[in-house]
Structure formats: C-alpha cells, structure tokens
C-alpha cells in the first residue's frame, strides 16, 4: 500500500492503495466516482476514458503509481469546461444515448478531439473516436452530436 496525492477535477484527493491499482478503480471505488466505467480492463473499449494532463487516456491500464501530479479530469468534472459542457449539451440535444454505459468515455474522447480539432472531419472523428466501443451502436448520432458541438463552440456558445 502507498499513499498518493491526486488532482481530480481540480480538487486535491488522497488515496492509500496498492500501487498496481489502475486509476479506473481508484476513481470508482476509493473516490466513489462511478461515472468512469469498467468495460474491458485492457484499453480495448474506451469506457474508462479520462483526461490525464489533457490527454484522453484509458484509465483501466494506468497504474495509480504512474499518475504522479498530472491533473485528472473525469466525466463528473468535464462539464466545468466550456467544450465539455458543449459536448454534453449536444449529446442530450441529439438524444445520443441508449444504454448509456459507454457514453462517459465517448464524451471524454469527443471533448479531447474538439479541444485539439475544433472543426473535425469525418475522418478526424473516426480516428479520435475509433477506440470507443458502443454495443448499442449509437455511432451515427455520436458523429452528429460532435458536429453540433463543434458548431456551437464556433458560434462562441461555449
């Protein structure tokens, strides 16, 4: 066991866990932030995506000992960000979700994409969202919502 100081959604949090514990399980079980989802445990589905120092990262394969002082942003905190809020609003406006289980990860990947590429092409979307699995298959509406959010951000609405 070791103690770690984390910066989660702008707040300082302290946890004492086994160093091998993935960030995902620290968020879910130690910090009780269950918005970040467990889907596969091998970074193959993207349900666990968080932002680590601004980079979309699969938290299921990042041991807590590797996080260091890099700021962590999760689905619970992304709405504080203007792009994050615009994406969440576009998702609701487009009625994207079905079962909804993968959508935390989809939104986190979409926010990372739009921060880097405010006007993404279909190819940009396929590349950035390419590792986020949705078994319901909501992909057509995910594309649509990303474009809606992009337009909203361009209008300065976010």
């Amino acid at each position: 066991m070791a103690t770690y100081q984390l910066n989660v959604n702008g707040q300082r949090r302290e946890v004492t866990v086994d160093p091998s514990t993935p960030l995902l399980w620290v968020l879910r079980e130690d910090l009780r932030m269950t918005g970040t989802k467990f889907g596969c445990g091998i970074s193959a589905c993207g349900a666990c995506t968080v932002h680590l120092a601004g980079v979309a990262t699969r938290s299921c394969i990042v041991p807590i000992s590797h996080v260091g002082d890099r700021p962590i942003v999760t689905i619970e905190g992304i709405g504080q960000d203007s792009v994050g809020r615009a994406v969440q609003d576009a998702w609701v406006e487009t009625d994207v979700v079905q079962c909804g289980y993968c959508q935390s990860g989809q939104i986190m990947s979409a926010v990372a994409l739009l921060k880097h590429t405010p006007k993404p092409t279909d190819q940009n979307i396929e590349e950035s969202m390419g590792g986020n699995l949705c078994r319901c298959g909501t992909y057509p509406r995910i594309r649509e919502a990303i474009k809606t959010a992009s337009a909203q951000i361009a209008k300065g609405g976010a």
Binding site: T34, A44, V92, G100, S104, I107, G131
Partner: protein, 737 residues
Amino acid sequence: MVDSFRPADQHELSRRSFLGVSFAAASGLFVSLYLDPDSIKKVLAQEGPQPPTQAKVYPPDAFVNIRPDGKIVIQVNRLEFGQGVQTALPLILADELDADWANVVANLAPAADVYKDPMFGIQMVGGSGSIAHSFQQYRELGAKTRAMLVAAAADRWGTSADKIRTQASMVHGPGGQSATYAELAGEAARKPLPDKVRLKNPAEFRFIGKRVKRLDSRAKCDGSLKFGLDLDVPNMKVAVVAHPPVFGARVKSIVDEEARRIEGVREVFEIPLAKGTGVAVVADKFWPAKQARSQLKIEWDFTGVERPDSAELWTRYKQLGLTAGNVAVSNGDANAVDKIAASNRIVAEYEFPYLAHTPMEPLNTTVRFDGDRAEVWAGSQFQTFDQMAVAEVLGLKPEQVTFHTEMAGGGFGRRAVADSHVQREAAAIAKRLRGTPVKLVWTREDDVQGGYYRPMHFHRIEVGIGPDGLPLAWRHVIVGQSILAATPFGQMLIKNGVDQTATEGTADTHYNIPNFHVSVHHPQVNVPVLWWRSVGHTHNAFVMETLIDELATRARTDPIAYRRKLLKPEAKKPLRTLDLLEQASASWRNNLPKGHALGVSCHESFDTGVACAVDVSIESKRPKVHRATIAVDCGLAVNPLTIESQFQAGVGFGLTQLMAKGAITLKNGVVEQRNFDGYVPPYIVDAPVTVDVHIVPSTEAPTGCGEPPVPVISPAVVNALARLTGKRYRTLPLVNI
C-alpha cells in the same frame, strides 16, 4: 449511496401513498392478479405465450404516484437497457393522464407480480414486446388515474365529470375553477377505481407519436446515473469467480495461499455453478479480488466433460445438413427440387459461428442475505426467474427476496437467462457472507468466455428456379443447438422436435414459394446458448435475404421489384416498407459513385416489417457502409425519435456478425477469445456513416423495434459486396472479401 437513487422496494411501495392516501387495501396491491410462476407453464403450454384468461386489473397506485410537489412518479414494469422503454411507457401513461411531461419521473419497478408482462406472465424484457404488450396497459392506467382526479374535482366543485377538462397536470372546471393534480390527489385516492375508461382518439394524443427525448440522457452524459455495477451499498464486498476453462468442469483442488496474501482479500471458496463448480474470491474491492483470482492455482476435474471443438462441430453439422431433420414446414412437394434441371438449381451452404452479446456493462449482481430475507440489485431482463433463483439458493420464498431492477448497460438478451446463473453465483457467495452485501462482478473475460452465445448454425439450401425466375422449390436444412431446450419453456414450446427460435425468419417467410420444405437438427453440444438480439432471425434473415438477392440478380430483376413480386399479397408490412424504401432511397439508390454498390434486404421480425438499402464500397479490404436507408412498419409509432434511434444504432449491432473477428470459437473445449482484442464488435469506423429511418404511417397496434433493426443489415451489406466482387458470402464471420 443507495438510498438516494434506489427505486422503491416492495416495502416502500406497499406503504406508498398514491395520490396522498393509500388505497392499497381497496385495490389489492401486490395481490397476484393474473399469473403466479406455476401458471407460467400453463400459459406457455398453449400455442405459445398467450394472454392470460383472467381479467387483469392493474391498480394505478402501483404505477403512479402524484407527489405533493407536483412530480408524477411512474413505475416502469421492465428493465431499461437502452431500448428507451423508461421513456416510452411513462410517455404513454402521461398522455392519457394529461400530465405535465416536465414533471414526470420514471422509476424502474422492483420484482413484483403486478409488474409482470401482460402477455408473457413473467416480469421480463424480450421478444421486442415492451410496447406491443404494455401499450394498452399504460394507456388504461393513465386514463383511470385521470378519471379519478376528474371525479374528485367534480365533487369539489359540485359539477359533473363531463364538464371538466384536464391539461398539463391541471384540472379546469366549467366556472373557471382550477386545481393541480397534486392538490386533488388526496381526494382522488378515495374515488373508486373505474372499471372502464374512455381512451383518447389518436388525434387527441399529446405525446404519443411525437419525437420525445429520453428522460435519462442528462444523467447518462454527466456520469451521475448509477448502473448495477456502480452500486455502493454500505459494508459491501466485491467478488469475482474463477470459472472452469471448459463448461461444466469441477474444481479438484485449490492452492490459494498467494491469493489470500493480497491485502483486502477476505474469502476464497468453492461454489456450485450452473454447470460444474468454480472458486469465488471475495475482497474489499474489485482490484484485490481480481489480482487474487489470477494468483489462484486451481486443478480442474474434466471427468465426463465434453470438450467441444469448432472445427469438429462444423464437420458434424455439415454431415447432419445432408439429411432432412425434424420438419418445421412442408408445403407442396418436398422433393420438387430434385425434378428441376441442375442448371436451374442453386445449392448453398452457410456457416454462422457462436456470437457473444458483450453488453458494455459487464454482468453483475449484488446480494445481501439476512437469514430470513434477502435483497438483490440486478439489471435483469428476467426479474421473475432471477428472484426465484436467488430465493432457491438461499432457501427462501421469492417474496422474501426484495429484488431491485437496476439500470443496465446493454443486454441484447444476455440478461435474460432462464437458469439465472449469475444470480445463483451471487446468491451462493452471499449465503456464505451472511449479513454482508456482496457485488459479484463478471470481468470481460468471464463474459466473452462464459458461454450463453448465439448458437452456431449451418444451413444447407437447395433451390429450384422456375421459368419465371422465381423459386419454385426450396429445400432447407438448418443445424443448430436449441436455445429453448435448456429453459423451462422448452418442453412446452419445442414442437415436433423443432425449436422455432432456430427456424424463425425462414419457416414463416412471407415469400411465396410453392414447394417449400424446412427441417432442423438440434445437436447437443456442451456450450450454453442463448437468444442474441433478434434470435433466429440473425441467421435466417441472412440466408433468406442473400439467396433471394442472388435469385433477383440471376433473373436480372431489380432487387426491390423482385421481392415485391415474390412476397405474398397478405405480407402487408414488408410490402409497405418496400414501397417506402423505394421512394426514400430514390435520390441516391441509382446514382452511386464508382466503386460503390447498392445492397437491399427486407425482413419482418417480431411483427415489425423492415426494408433496408445500403451504399457500400470496399475500403482497406472491409465493407464501408456510407449510408443506410431504412423503412419500418411498426404499427403506430409511439415515439418516432426512439424508433429512429433503435434503427440507426441497431443496424450497427447487427454488423457484429460481419466483423472479421466477429466469432466465438472453441478449441478442445476452451473458448479461444478472451476480450475485445479477440472478439471484436463494430467500432465507429465499421458502422454506417449515416442512417436515415422512414416510418410507414400507421394506426395499427404498435409492434417492437428493439430487435427488428438487426436482421436486415448484414444481408444488405453482403448483397452490395456481391455486386462489387461477383462473389457470394455464405460463411461468417466475413474474414476475406
């Protein structure tokens, strides 16, 4: 924590005050109103699931709670796992109630007799029946509740009910009086439950037929919605189970010293499984439990355990396919095909592998056993069976088991398991940890390797073509495990050795084929199988719609026109969808860019007709679906927005079976795939770029939209590929194009 978001449990419900004052006693709340578990068998013993004969009375207080703050809480009698029923059923009730939609709150109901499916007689989601079976029920509930509120207002104002109108949770009297539903709730509760109520004419609908957004979107976009796996019950432990590498093997010995040394590990012990035994590891949290499981050294006993092997199964299936099996349908001359010249015959063999459902939320169930009662939290498609199973393991009666329905992250059939194997595991663990709640988590590896797959199937078809280019004779042999055989439905629903879930989509085809013979073999294989979204239609629609397309090509006839010609005139829904598809795809269907091709299919399942046209090219040796146009006839469209969603996304789910790694295979009894690296469902690049959905206007009874999107897409895509390459694709997964 649990209390802030849990749906009401039975105890809360039984003392809930509907409209302020409980009338539970008067209305018989929680009296078994129509079916108990024993009578399921009687119902199923008939022609198939039939409506129970007893008069059904659904007490509104079990479904509607008008709170003093104006919120109207509506209980949803089935699981929400993406299909949108948590919005649709409240919408139906709220429409007849004239409720203010902004104040409607939906709750997933716990297991209770009153929440059983009106047609199936058990509490469940399946067969695309949520709206088809509960439309009338929820309309009547809304209308009755409204009638009681109106009666209360009439009393209060000394006027008659027919002079009163309602709108947006307000009651208005003839003299300008008005009152909110919340204000009238207490008085309304004392009014008798009306026997009969007038339901709205479609012209009066306020929500039904409108594009109403989901109620659960925001909470699914900000991380606040709690799925079963997100449960956090006080003092809860987390368990994982080491399952045998071959289905049905048993633990011979366990070396667990290293596992127990991991900090946070509490217990390691053997538990019975649905088949064989396994080893449960209980820890304070998931990670130590999973770590400990990987440290276990388990010796397995494979005595008497069959080790299925995909290659051997194909050999066996193909051999079986050469002979007729149990007859599902025989019209005309079964051997007519033999009398047709070889040049006018097609012999086609199809292979379909096992498929895993892999819902995004891994399977899980939380159980706390307190000796004389238990509490369960599960995202279940089969609450009635799962509640009974937990009760059985714990030596309780079902009514001693409070069963909460949790929001589930997908399911596609995987949470509707008649043997309740996940709940039995969870109960067996909770039994040992008496008093401590335990959340059992199946990892993705448990899920991918854990069985309950869409069965593998072999089809062999001989078609004889008539002088008009239409099929004159059709002899069809299907080989695949029976899904129903391993369920309580089997004895009743398997007729003449035919499990209709293996033949649906072929035996009941709407195509008019004069000499039509379909038979089936159901081999026994040591692999648990299960319904996978759209069940038998997954493979039968693929066979029918690719073969019909091949015949259309051979006859040099337009694929839509050919189907229209071949469909029986009474096949109203498929015919209407073909007409609408032709119109809706006219702008693009015959002007495709070079390197693109059109693919068409048409299939009715679960009483919903669907026609599909796709624009496909080949990119990086894979099919790229640039566009899909879908026409659907599902009767009255209750929520067109949800129907559009189900089809836009459901076709993506259907493409699972075309993925290069879209197969579960076995080698010497062991499943060869472990996770999403070996079994790869469609990602965004694999799904259609856009899907436009067109609904046939209809006032007929609404039918389901959960499963019908799935069957049409794969045949449409390979029909397009066939146009591009000249090859026919009959072996899935689609490894090479």
